[in-house]
């Protein structure tokens, strides 16, 4: 049963690591917006003209 005294700290460390990783992810807003990044990927590299303000035909 002495094996438990080695395995237990290891498993605790692993659990702690997982917990810290999760906290890092939440605090870095990794879960805030899970829908937009895959959409953004599709439009990579396409850009508008620089300093282009939308014109409404009559310069509204």
């Amino acid at each position: 049963m002495t094996i438990i005294y080695i395995l237990l700290p290891i498993s605790l460390l692993l659990a702690l690591g997982a917990g810290l990783a999760f906290r890092w992810a939440v605090n870095n807003q990794q879960f805030d917006d899970v829908d937009s990044p895959p959409i953004r990927m599709l439009s990579d590299g396409k850009v508008v003209r620089e300093n282009s303000s939308p014109k409404t035909g009559e310069g509204e």
Partner: protein
């Protein structure tokens, strides 16, 4: 019949309605051939403005615009909404390292093209450092350099593209999600520990190890309870208010289990089989409850983001006749105030000149009213711009807080309305369920204590009796339903909206803006293309609501001596003088519901138009939404009573109702009369659902059991309604109704299942059959079955992914589905379980 053209809007791909093909009729005037129609057609002025704004941002030739490549038919017509208040947006700014940052709700973001376009802001607007749009919550996070650009510049950039920013107060909170993660981690480890006990480890055979592992599990359960503390505190609060919340038995069970587990741990001696420990069960339950709560909260928050709207319609500042700017609170009775063109009046008063006024805030009818000198004006009236050399004024009759509008707003806040909350049937049902479970648990405990003489069985009973069905399945089912309904373009603020959608016996419609389009469109004309161009160019200078029917894309026509007054607009175009104003011709029968506007040729620069020759006539009006008849038919087929309440004239309402085959309607109603009509219906025991849009519908919204507003509704009405139809299509309401029925069916089934499970398990535990192993297997199994039930209705996987709140990136099939709602699917269709 109105001639229909089968063309689609260049911007949003919705069919262009009404416009423009018009063949020669009895009058024998010239007709417009299809060939001379403009190649770009728009369904509304919002689309037209957005289209030209977007086109102007690219160098590429038309046709290869990245925005439209990305959008591929997913666009919805934008609301060219007014920003509630630039000041409110300014107030929401935060400063960090000499940069301004803000988080706004951006109305109008629908698809990847929208996300992409708004993300381009740093390139397009000098001074904007970063812009990030979240498609699932419509939140825009912005950072900019206040030295180089301003809120006004940013708003002016967003608005023509069809996006309206609104200040938002709600924030995604990481704390709740962290708790979910931590409790899940604890649950996993606690379960791992309990595996040893299933394997045979107990105090009998290895006391040391058993004690060590049990204490570890106990610490984890204690940490779980700590994460759960807010829920427990909230529960105590609601018990103090004499309510029986759904999760009461489950929480009692958890706390009791915690106490007795520690008690059993300490009283167990080496070599003896002690009492049961429930630490793993506590951890699992807490994790499940926290996860459900987080999910439902997120759904609700994302949908509710837009509900924090500004109540103020009336501007803060106004101008005295002597030219001094004063705050609305400083305005005194008998002050002479300037009617600023297109501005909203701050108080009730008396007109000092003849003028045209848009009173849609009060009446819901957007056609301007002719006000003569000496007539009453009201706060909320918008005075239309017109040519008036000496200016326009009104004399204040009452202070602004005593104005008719202010009193209406005040009455909305009164406790009479806030307290008359409809009794939630779901809440009633669940508190009944809680009572049954508590009584059964009590009975089972008495039986087991008397017959088995074993007190520990009581805890087993409490844990087993936990009605997960209620605490987990019901909120989950409603949250998923709200997500599904949102995907169909209907935003629901509360679970009550779902209940009423399904239970309603009477549906009450407002006419203008709800059954009809609500804005003016060109329904047809007799004109040459050249004359249409001139009319478009002239109408650009008009602030009359009818002018929205004309194309805002006036091209390079040179206009001179433009003069806009309350009757029309006149200007010099090239060598000729023209004027647009009310037509003097007889309106053909096909257009009798519309308003005719004529283009006149003026001789010698006269502006009266009396002797001008009418060159062209345009028929403009607010027509019935094309889907309205089908929606009404579907509702009636479902056995619902349909009513129409309108502030409009009798003959118009009658005509619309005849077209829709609606027998019960009332016309020329004030906001109070609408509300009292609904109250009478409710007094007869009917469940009333109201659909409206204007500020004049606000009281009716409050009175009805639930109310829905259509896109573009006034902010006040919106803030009071349970739901918003975010598409231009009334058909989405039928979709929402269909889903609401499914949600309620699923929930009822889950409740029945939970009750059966509880009764069986209670009986089993009362006679001592439930061992920790059986409880540990049965409980997650029952929860899993409940989750399966609540997410059923189609393939689990697709539903799970679809129901993620706000996953709105629609496929092209979905885009079609928005155009052609589910008329074929009857809302009564049974749900496969």
């Amino acid at each position: 019949m109105i001639p229909q053209v089968d063309n689609r809007c260049v911007h949003c791909d919705e069919p262009v309605r009404g416009l423009p093909r018009f063949d020669a009729d009895a009058d024998g005037t010239h007709s417009l051939s299809a060939q001379s129609l403009p190649s770009e057609q728009f369904c509304c002025s919002g689309c037209e403005i957005a289209y030209h704004a977007i086109q102007s941002m690219f160098d590429q030739p038309e046709g290869s615009n990245p925005f439209y490549d990305l959008a591929k038919g997913n666009l919805r017509p934008p609301t060219q909404g007014k920003v509630d208040s630039i000041q409110a947006l300014r107030d929401s700014i935060q400063m960090k390292d000499s940069l301004s940052s803000a988080e706004w709700y951006l109305e109008g973001v629908h698809c990847r093209a929208c996300v992409w376009l708004v993300d381009q802001m740093p390139r397009a607007v000098d001074g904007v450092v970063s812009a990030r749009t979240d498609i699932s919550s419509n939140l825009l996070r912005l950072e900019w350099d206040p030295e180089k650009t301003s809120v006004d510049d940013i708003v002016n950039w967003l608005q023509p593209l069809g996006y309206s920013p609104h200040p938002t107060k709600t924030k995604e909170e990481g704390g709740a999600l962290l708790s979910v993660g931590a409790s899940a981690l604890l649950a996993m480890n606690a379960m791992m520990v309990s595996v040893t006990s299933y394997g045979g480890l107990s105090a009998e055979n290895d006391y040391e190890v058993w004690r060590f592992l049990s204490i570890a599990a106990g610490i984890m359960a204690t940490a779980s309870l700590y994460l759960f503390r807010f829920r427990i505190l909230r529960l105590i609060k609601s018990i103090k208010l004499a309510k029986l919340p759904v999760d009461l038995p489950i929480v009692i069970g958890i706390i009791a289990a915690w106490f007795f587990s520690w008690f059993n741990l300490y009283t167990t001696q080496a070599g003896v089989k002690g009492g049961e420990l429930w630490f793993d069960a506590i951890c699992v339950l807490v994790a499940l409850l926290l996860a459900t709560e987080w999910y439902t909260d997120r759904t609700r928050r994302r949908i509710g983001q837009f509900t924090q709207v500004d109540f103020s319609i009336v501007p803060e500042f106004t101008t005295l006749k002597i030219g001094k700017r004063i705050h609305r609170d400083e305005v005194q009775v008998d002050d002479l105030l300037v009617c600023e063109p297109n501005a909203v009046l701050v108080s009730d008063g008396i007109a000092q000149q003849n003028m045209f006024v848009d009173r849609s805030v009060q009446t819901g009818e957007s056609l301007p009213i002719n006000i003569a000198k000496g007539d009453d004006l009201y706060a909320g009236d918008r005075v239309l711009a017109q040519h008036s050399p000496e200016g326009m004024f009104y004399r204040v009759k009452v202070r602004h807080e005593k104005s008719k509008l202010a009193l209406l707003l005040e009455s909305l806040k009164s406790p009479e309305y806030l307290d008359s909350d409809v009794v939630d049937r779901a809440e009633k049902l669940s508190s009944l369920f809680v009572k049954i479970v508590l009584i059964l648990a009590l009975l089972a405990s008495i039986i087991s204590v008397i017959f088995l003489g074993e007190f520990g069985a009581v805890i087993a009973i409490l844990i087993v009796a936990c009605p997960c069905g209620l605490a987990i399945a019901t909120p989950l089912s409603y949250a998923i339903g709200m997500g599904q309904i949102r995907r169909k373009g209907v935003l629901l603020k509360s679970a009550q909206g779902i209940d009423i959608l399904d239970r309603a016996t009477d549906i009450v419609f407002d006419k203008t803006g709800t059954l009809t389009d609500g804005d003016f469109r060109m329904q047809g004309y007799q004109s040459t293309a050249e004359h249409l161009r001139i009319a478009n160019a002239l109408e650009f200078f008009s602030s009359h609501p009818l002018s929205t029917a004309f194309s805002k894309n006036a091209d390079d026509l040179e206009l001179d001596e433009v003069c806009a007054d309350r009757l029309g607009v006149s200007a010099k175009v090239g060598s000729g003088s023209y004027r647009v104003m009310g037509s003097q011709k007889r309106i053909p029968a096909a257009y009798k519901d519309f308003i005719a506007i004529g283009l006149f040729a003026m001789s010698g620069g006269k502006t009266s138009g009396e002797d001008g020759q009418e060159l062209a006539t345009f028929y403009v009006g607010d027509a019935l939404r094309p889907e309205s008849p089908q929606v009404i038919k579907a509702l009636k087929a479902d056995g619902l009573h349909v009513h129409v309440l309108s502030g409009d004239r009798e003959d118009k309402v009658q005509h619309v109702c005849a077209d829709l085959d609606i027998a019960t309607f009332r016309s020329s109603l004030s906001p109070e009369e609408k509300a009292s009509y609904i109250r009478e219906l409710k007094d007869k025991g009917r469940v009333v659902l109201f659909l409206g849009d204007g500020t004049n519908d606000a009281l009716a919204c409050l009175e009805a059991d639930a109310s829905f507003v259509v896109k573009g509704a006034s902010p006040i009405t919106f803030s009071l309604a349970e739901g918003l139809l975010d598409t231009r299509n009334l058909g989405s309401f039928l979709d929402a109704k269909l889903f609401a029925a499914r949600v309620r069916k699923r929930t009822t089934f889950a409740l029945v299942w939970a009750l059966i499970y509880n009764i069986v398990m209670l009986a089993a535990s009362a006679i001592g059959w439930i061992t920790p192993l059986i409880a540990a297997i049965a409980m997650p199994l029952s929860s899993a079955i409940l989750v399966l039930i609540t997410t059923s209705g189609s393939q689990l996987g697709s539903i799970l992914s679809q129901s993620l709140p706000g996953r709105r990136e629609a496929s092209s099939d979905d885009a079609k589905a928005v155009l052609e709602p589910v008329f074929h699917a009857k809302p009564t269709e049974s749900v496969p379980l």
